[in-house]
């Protein structure tokens, strides 16, 4: 069975969803075990893929067995770039699933099975996007992801989430359609949908690669994916969609959907259009990096203006997307920027997961939607607050969390590419993040209105203890994923060397594909 890991990784949640559809409607207790077992199975498969890729390089899986000629069937392709992302998707999904126990749909518990079906199908879509090697297949799976997202966002009870979902739907559909147009242009000029095939043709035919239609295709694919990942001028849907959705949905949507879109962009750059080709057109890269700088600045500025926790986190996502897009386009010869981007996909998924789990827990068990509501958090739920602190430190980029290392690789790439403004933007955004999070920590630690400073006399501190401090952590099913995410954030940081080494084998391998393609 181990040959079939690339397809099993997404079949597990698919069959899980079917099982819930068949048996879960009547007895809701079936849902959670099914979800967890399906996702754990996926996790095992994903780890298996990583191990196989580590041992034997890129893994091709020919669906329906159509191997030759290339491009008649659909091929799944696991390499060193996407296999770690599969693992992270599975992990984040498991954490979010555990978190949603007992408050899946929040409004109607009767909709629990539907929530979990959408949840699992979302995972199917994400796994599928990550592992596929076919440009059109990406579109279909993007739509699976998108439709499930709309459902997961709008399943909540609030009035605003419906409008947010509607806007997301419009933007998302237009984005996906743009992607489809791009793929259509590629097909029109090259007659192929297989990514590797397209890459070979483009690499061997310079004039074709520079033709107007192919350039337009690239532009449309990029704009489409940028819409999906909420890259700055196209970010409009994101803040509302993720902040008004139920916590359980946000815990899986916010960390994964944008990151997987970033991955699609990286995939398009690396194994469709080819890095050599992009590096030959430096001015494109510079232009996109400038856009990314604007995105970082805008995301950070917007985050400063927010008074709600989730909205602030959403604005941070926008800034983080800016990091990743910029890093991918730096075009430094050693590809450190790209390495940093891929590593940041992993890191940011975990960090965002940690933060959104925490925000969800605070909203549910502390009643905190706004920053001011967090006062007294450290006393009430110290462990949950610790998890949040770790997530925050990671976003700021404090070692040894993974956020530090991803920034480090990105900055290294920028320095080698000589893009000093990008470096400055990254550091400035780190500082803004520091301000943002320490503002929260301060509120959580001191309370909303700290007592007037009293002389350091003998009666010191008694007024604190006079008000009884009730320590009430969130229940275990919320606390464990949160702390696990926090631990993973640190673990990924500590293991950054191994992970990055692994990713780089992928990037170098694709480079060799180019040379054999010629």
């Amino acid at each position: 069975m181990s040959d079939h890991l690339p397809v099993l990784v997404l079949l597990a949640p698919l069959f899980g969803a079917i099982a819930i559809g068949l048996f879960g409607m009547r007895d809701h207790r079936v849902c959670l075990p099914v979800v967890l077992s399906a996702l754990v199975l996926s996790l095992c498969c994903a780890i298996g893929i990583v191990l196989k890729v580590h041992a034997g390089g890129t893994l091709d899986y020919f669906v329906a067995g159509w191997k030759a000629p290339r491009g008649i069937g659909i091929v799944l392709r696991a390499d060193a770039i996407n296999s770690p992302i599969l693992v992270v998707i599975a992990i984040v999904a498991i954490l979010a699933a555990v978190f949603t126990v007992r408050h899946a749909g929040e409004r109607d518990t009767e909709k629990t099975p539907h929530f979990y079906i959408l949840f699992l199908l979302l995972c199917v879509g994400l796994f599928g996007i990550t592992i596929t090697g076919d440009a059109f297949n990406v579109f279909v799976l993007i739509e699976v992801t998108a439709l499930t997202s709309y459902g997961l966002i709008a399943i909540g009870g609030s009035k605003r989430c419906k409008v947010a979902a509607f806007h997301y739907l419009i933007m998302g559909t237009v984005g996906a359609s743009f992607y489809l147009i791009g793929v259509g242009y590629l097909y029109l000029k090259l007659g192929s949908l297989n990514m590797q095939d397209i890459h070979t043709i483009l690499a061997s035919n310079e004039s074709l690669a520079d033709s107007r239609a192919i350039r337009t295709a690239f532009v449309f694919i990029l704009v489409g994916i940028w819409t999906k990942m909420a890259f700055f001028p196209l970010h409009g849907w994101l803040p509302n969609a993720y902040s008004y959705s139920p916590s359980g949905s946000a815990a899986i949507l916010a960390p994964l959907v944008t990151k997987v879109s970033v991955y699609v962009m990286v995939r398009m750059m690396v194994s469709v259009f080819g890095l050599d080709h992009l590096e030959a057109n430096v001015e494109w890269g510079h232009f996109v990096v400038w856009l990314a700088i604007i995105a970082i600045a805008a995301g950070s500025t917007m985050a400063l203006a927010q008074r709600e926790i989730k909205k602030m986190l959403c604005c941070l996502i926008i800034a983080e997307v800016g990091y990743m897009v910029g890093g991918a386009w730096l075009g430094d010869p050693q590809r450190w920027g790209l390495t940093g981007t891929v590593y940041h996909i992993l890191a940011d998924a975990l960090m965002t997961s940690c933060l959104f789990l925490a925000a969800g827990a605070f909203a549910k068990w502390h009643g905190a939607a706004k920053l001011e509501d967090l006062s007294g958090l450290f006393r009430k739920m110290p462990l949950a607050a610790t998890g949040f602190v770790v997530g925050g430190l990671a976003i700021i980029g404090v070692p040894p969390t993974c956020g530090f290392y991803s920034k480090f690789y990105l900055i290294r790439g920028a320095i080698e590419a000589g893009h000093w403004v990008y470096v400055a933007a990254l550091l400035a955004s780190s500082l803004v993040n520091a301000v943002l999070f320490f503002r929260i920590f301060e509120i959580a630690y001191f309370g909303k209105n700290p007592v007037e400073s009293h002389g350091h006399g003998d009666d010191h501190g008694h007024d604190h203890e006079s008000e009884p401090v009730v320590r009430r952590e969130p229940p275990l099913h919320a606390l464990i994923p949160l702390l696990a995410a926090a631990a993973l954030v640190i673990l990924l940081g500590l293991c950054n060397g191994t992970v990055v080494e692994f990713i780089r084998t992928g990037l170098i391998e694709t480079a060799t594909v180019v040379s054999t393609g010629r």
Binding site: I411, L427, P450, L494
Partner: protein
Amino acid sequence: MENSVHSYLPLWACLASLAAVPLIVLFRREIFLRELVTFGAGALKFAFVLAMLPIILEGKVIVLTLVDGIGGINVPIAFRVDGLGMLFALVASSLWILTSLYAVGYMRGLHEPSQTRFFAFFALSLCATLGVAFAGNLFTLYLFYEMLSLSTWPLVTHHQDKEARTGGRTYLSYLLGTSIAFALPAILYTYVRSGGEVAFGPEAILAESNLDYWPALALLLAFAFGFSKAGLMPFHSWLPGAMVAPTPVSALLHAVAVVKVGVFCIIRVVTGVFGVDLLGRLGVNDVLAWIAAFTVITSSLIALTQDNLKRRLAFSTIGQLAYIVLGAALITKLSLTGSVLHIAAHAVAKITLFFCAGAIFVATGKKYVSQLAGLGRTMPITMGAFFLGSLGVIGLPPSLGLISKFHLVVGAADAGEIALLCVFLTSTLLNAAYFLPLVWIAFFPKKGSIPAELDRPFSWAGVREAPWACVVPLAITALLSTGLFFCSGFLQELTGQFIKGIGL
């Protein structure tokens, strides 16, 4: 080429206090056990550090790579213990035990809240301090540096009132802000410039790179201001702000751990990143030296005007730190020796002074210099220790401060910087000016300047000292400061090993 030994001792020394954190939290209800854990961890830590001492004294270097780097891409978390790190670790870990004792007395004496958190973060910050001391490369250094900033924040803001919030805000925004804005880019630039090499070794990281004057200057200043724990002006104002912390915190962290980490980092940067040769060739160290000199004089002048005792001590600290930086910036053998020794000398002297300030506050609730008149009669041990401590800071015999200052002054002369020599001497006078009168009126108050009931001849019956747990540590540190004057041999040897290691 370098005589290195592989050993896990530095790791254990770091982990000793880290492991204490969960135990402290676990025993939050059993106060006695909790404090026992603190002492136990302190003793263990000290033992580990002591165990390394003979190895270092033999002229060897302990290295340990924790998270291994593959293919030289990533940056491992690595330890490397040399003379400098050893000396700093020795100072920090030994003084932690004393501070713990003092803290128990102080916190109990004032019925401070949240003592568990206090001790837990105290232990954590010590772990970070030793991590900095033993850091084997720039990234490990930065990691523990940030960890120290963050873990001391709850200590500084311990009282959780408005004043603490303001102080904490200043504290963190200066430390974190400068480290992200200056130190991190500097590290990254170094990393890129050196071709991915950031490990400290016998050879300086940038020794081979042909930096020009201006980039080198920018890099040096970025490091110097980025490690703003060293308190170089204009990034010094976090230090007085952080004095809102309980006194044990001020004592250990702001006389020993935090600020010394700052200067330690700068010495590391000067010797380990740039290397004496490169700096000497480019001459950028002069700029750093003059910034330090400016800080020395200015902070001493400000200290003269401060009435709050802890603030006066804080500004004195800023000045003394600048001594160390100045010594390092002169890059002569003698001045560096003085610089390193001054870490130890100032640590024991200043911690004594802080302990005294705290003890006075615990016993009498007084915190202003103007209130101290006649206190020598009721608190003779404390004020005696204060006197010894101030001798150490000023650099008068018998104290370790004399030895270190002597080296610094001679080093300045050696470097031919007569102007800087004058700075040292002027500042010594200023030091004397802000400490000695204080001691004088404490013991010999002017007639009528103090309440009548205090104005009587000294007798042991009138003594109202702070709790013994406060007094014993300060007596010990005062004696240490004096005693080390007589047996400073092993410190000088450690320093010598370090100087030899960097090839001077």
